[in-house]
């Protein structure tokens, strides 16, 4: 039985073509693409009703108080993103204050205002101008905005008693009643 001397010579190049280095690079590129793909999908999906919101999110208000979302479980939380330079925010500001006053007697509803990419003095002047009394503070490091993936202001989100997202409003409210109804709906009293 004569051996064919050409057989080993044919297999050598194919073995080289798929060396460990090539597999390593291919694997690295695939992992990177997967990470990028997941990131793109998450950004495109955005936040949706029913999504849990991280309880560690904390608001440090302009008057020195601190509100941590995890501590507000059991309460319906309205979160409003606004800015002093935003004209539609000015339109809805009185409605938010009216709705807040409507729920003043209740312990299970709280409003939180977040000044997005705003300067402190302008934000304070805005709150004073519209007589807003519910807790408000800057979105430090835009951490809240990144969690809610906001694309502009005003945007409003309502969390249920379990801390899950229950209602989304992109753009300004047209009247106080719209806000009040949204809250009652989340409270299960609508």
């Amino acid at each position: 039985m004569a051996e064919n001397p050409s057989v080993p010579q044919q297999t050598t190049p194919s073995r080289r073509r798929f060396s460990w280095g090539a597999w390593l690079i291919l694997g690295g590129v695939l992992v990177l693409l997967a990470v990028l793909g997941i990131g793109v999908i998450r950004v495109q999906r955005g936040i949706q009703v029913g999504d849990p919101i991280p309880p560690e999110l904390t608001l440090h208000t302009f008057d020195g108080k601190t509100y941590r979302l995890g501590d507000l479980k059991g309460r319906v939380v309205l979160i409003n993103f606004w800015a002093s330079w935003c004209v539609p925010c000015e339109e809805e500001a009185p409605y938010l204050q009216q709705a807040w006053e409507h729920f003043q007697g209740r312990e299970d509803v709280i409003f939180l205002g977040l000044a997005w990419t705003d300067t402190d003095d302008k934000a304070r002047a805005y709150l004073k101008r519209f007589g807003i009394t519910y807790p408000n503070g800057p979105d430090l490091g835009t951490r809240w905005a990144q969690v809610f993936r906001i694309r502009g202001v005003p945007e409003t989100y309502v969390l249920d008693r379990e801390g899950r997202l229950a209602y989304i409003k992109i753009g300004p409210f047209e009247n106080a009643q719209e806000i009040i109804e949204a809250i009652y709906q989340v409270l299960g009293e609508g």
């Binding site: 050409s6 010579q9 050598t12 190049p13 080289r16 073509r17 060396s19 280095g21 090539a22 690079i25 690295g28 990177l32 800015a83 002093s84 330079w85 990419t117 705003d118 300067t119 302008k122 800057p138 430090l140 490091g141 835009t142 951490r143 905005a145 990144q146 502009g152």
Partner: protein, 171 residues
């Protein structure tokens, strides 16, 4: 009498020197410029290193929105208060997040921005080198192989054998 007068004068001088505040060869700390003296160029030098999240892909020094105007005004105030550029950038990062920086800092995920391009370049050069090496090896192996195989196929007849060889040499 003269000696006494001299002693009194020396004593007086020593007393004055011991009470007088020490003179230091320090350069005086420059006072922060009063408000209004910060120029637009100074503001823009800091602003061009920042991006406002409201207007994507437009640096703060050229953005015309109200939000960016307010940010530039904030930079002007901070400069007037004597803040350094680094302090102002740090303040903006703390307030508005790392994403406001035109040039991300090599921290956390942002490190990838600095690490990945050289890694890709090195990997690309490595792949190119490997490919060229493989081609060269294949070429080197293929050349001696051809006559070896052909030699087996040479005819037994000496005349035909010579003819085949000459034909191959001509080609």
């Amino acid at each position: 009498m003269v000696m006494r007068r001299w002693l009194a004068m020396v004593s007086f001088l020593m007393l004055v020197l011991s009470v007088a505040p020490p003179v230091r060869a320090e350069t005086p700390t420059p006072l922060p410029p009063p408000p209004g003296t910060v120029t637009d160029d100074q503001v823009n030098a800091v602003a061009k290193k920042l991006y406002c999240p409201v207007c994507e892909n437009i640096p703060l020094d050229t953005c015309g929105t109200k939000a960016c105007e307010e940010w530039r005004e904030l930079i002007r105030r901070k400069l007037a208060e004597g803040w350094t550029e680094e302090q102002i950038l740090e303040y903006f990062v703390e307030r508005y997040g790392e994403r406001v920086l035109a040039q991300p800092r090599p921290k956390g995920v942002h490190t990838l921005v600095y690490v990945l391009p050289p890694v890709f370049i090195v990997a690309g050069v490595f792949i190119l080198w490997r490919t060229l090496k493989t081609w060269r090896t294949l070429k080197g192996e293929a050349e001696p192989e051809a006559p070896a195989v052909a030699a087996q196929d040479l005819p037994e007849d000496p005349y035909l054998r010579q003819l085949e060889e000459e034909l191959r040499n001509r080609l």
